[in-house]
Symmetry: C2
Subunit: 389 residues, 2 copies
Amino acid sequence: MTVIAPAGFEAAGVAAGIKRSGALDLAVVVNRGPSQQAAVVFTSNRAQANPILWSKEVAKDGVVSAIVLNSGGANCFTGPEGFQVTHRTAEAAAAALGVAAGDVLVCSTGLIGEQLDGEVLEEGVLSAVNRLGADAAAGEDAARAIMTTDTKPKTVVVDGGAAGARWRIGGMAKGAGMLAPGLATMLVVLTTDAALEASVLDRALRQATRVSFDRLDSDGCMSTNDQVTLLASGASGVVADEAEFTAALSAACLDLAAQLQADAEGASHDITIEVLGAVTEDDAVEVGRSVARNNLFKAAIFGNDPNWGRVLAAIGTTAAPFDPYLVDVSMNGVRVCHAGRPDRPRDEVDLAPRATHVRIELHAGEASATILTNDLTHDYVHENSAYAS
Amino acid sequence: MTVIAPAGFEAAGVAAGIKRSGALDLAVVVNRGPSQQAAVVFTSNRAQANPILWSKEVAKDGVVSAIVLNSGGANCFTGPEGFQVTHRTAEAAAAALGVAAGDVLVCSTGLIGEQLDGEVLEEGVLSAVNRLGADAAAGEDAARAIMTTDTKPKTVVVDGGAAGARWRIGGMAKGAGMLAPGLATMLVVLTTDAALEASVLDRALRQATRVSFDRLDSDGCMSTNDQVTLLASGASGVVADEAEFTAALSAACLDLAAQLQADAEGASHDITIEVLGAVTEDDAVEVGRSVARNNLFKAAIFGNDPNWGRVLAAIGTTAAPFDPYLVDVSMNGVRVCHAGRPDRPRDEVDLAPRATHVRIELHAGEASATILTNDLTHDYVHENSAYAS
């Protein structure tokens, strides 16, 4: 079950011919209402793709009727012609659905700097609108159509509410490289049949992404096309409690973030970096990120080498307040460094499992944060050296 | 010719038995005077090795008689015992040389978090002192003894002054991984027979490193053991002009930086990133660094893929003032992006040569900077995943 799991939504995924492979490459998700409230967060990269420029305008009034997503091309740094392609895509969807173009979001993902064919996109949109459905296959096709180097679709469903007043959140995500903060690079569509205003959706979405996608840092590279969209149909008729809804939305986002991490390009380890004892949560995030972005540490994990010196060398570059010579580091449960000195022998650490846990105790305060990352592997280098060819 | 090229210096390199391989692993450089003025710059990493903690104290008064350098172990995060090993090393050299221990610098490089054997180091120091010489072989041995994963020694000689008032700068460097700013990770010893005070040496060294080692960013990882040392014997009797000396020292540092870049672990491309049209030099450095640290860009260059979209995605994450949609990007002389849009076809770019030139024109101001980096390769991952084993 995917974005069509909550009541009020239809979806489709088609092969529009954007990808030369003939794979599914265009998805449409429609909110049939009764209400069309929405919230969207965008990449913080200043280099922004044309669909981001368009969608930012659409999202301003908190009303969104539909979203069109394509893989096979990012439509970024493609100039005014590229913007026209995005505009034409929204217009085509709007006409076919009988809604306003100003209520249609567009997302694109793929190679930067190549023009998309507006006619191909327009025909794809019409084909997708004709195939819209609320069955499982429709949701699955949509999730597959947004994949690039992803090896599998990522979907989630979370239920909320009480007996007689149930609501639901559904979601789909794509992303396998360029996973980095603010946001982890990806496209995500979340749907809910809860009856919530755009302002509530916006608060809930910002909180949920802050503790999920923003804590996923696969390779430190920030995308030009990131967009996380939350659409609410109100079809359940239930006004969800904001705190409960935010918690459920955070759970859905964390689930999708873990799926993105598990499918990161070429990775052989999923690394959870837990930072404890920081003065502030921001400090904990900075310390965790400095490790997540350290190529020497990431290569060591690939080689099943518990090289904790690289953890300390990485965190020593941060501005977070702590004494490097008081720090403890544990790897997969073995404390290899205590108070900035060797503790248990390295060879007690078993890094063979894919799931890797690094625990860093700063002993400077009470705040903590967890960052998700991956190792640096031969396959990562291979996939990213051959991407455009 | 190396650190013994200027008059007043002797050096030696021996196999002390720190490296299991039996390779040269300990070097001593002695300043025989008549003066012992010196300047030193250190890593800006807060996680600092014991020899850094020691050497910072030694360097404070601007007087240095000798420097001991070992490979085979970083002596970092090794606690008070590790500091005692450094202290004992300096004491041993001081006693053998008849100088004060407080005038003996110590540098170490190798794996973090492993204790060095103080007795092995002391015996190595005595052996090296017994072999001190000012012949070419002595300087070459010293340059080899500080190598870790370096495939070749790095040395330089630059001459200065006018007829009848010549002076000379010699140098050696090690470093192949963890090459990153503030400083590029490495050990460097520079010698000169110019008669200059420590305060002049300090100004000259800070300026020279700022435009050379600080602009080299091989893998974004900052070391715990970086140290660049400049020793002046005054043996030429010539008080060099400060501006001329600074220029010559900068040339020597740039030469060594280029040798470090060319020998970076596993690299197949030496990438020069030239940033033009920035508002300030700091902005230009930030923009260049953001590209140098972008794994997706670096992997693309490894694959001979002129993926300029990754350049723009990288620079879009900076705070430097410029409009991403006015930027021009050229690769090896071919302008592939003009005003944020595709320009010449990608396939006109030949990335087969090892020397790679990326030119980024921001069109925001008059400042510029050049950053040196390397590509991200299978061999980089391999060497750094197997380092500790």
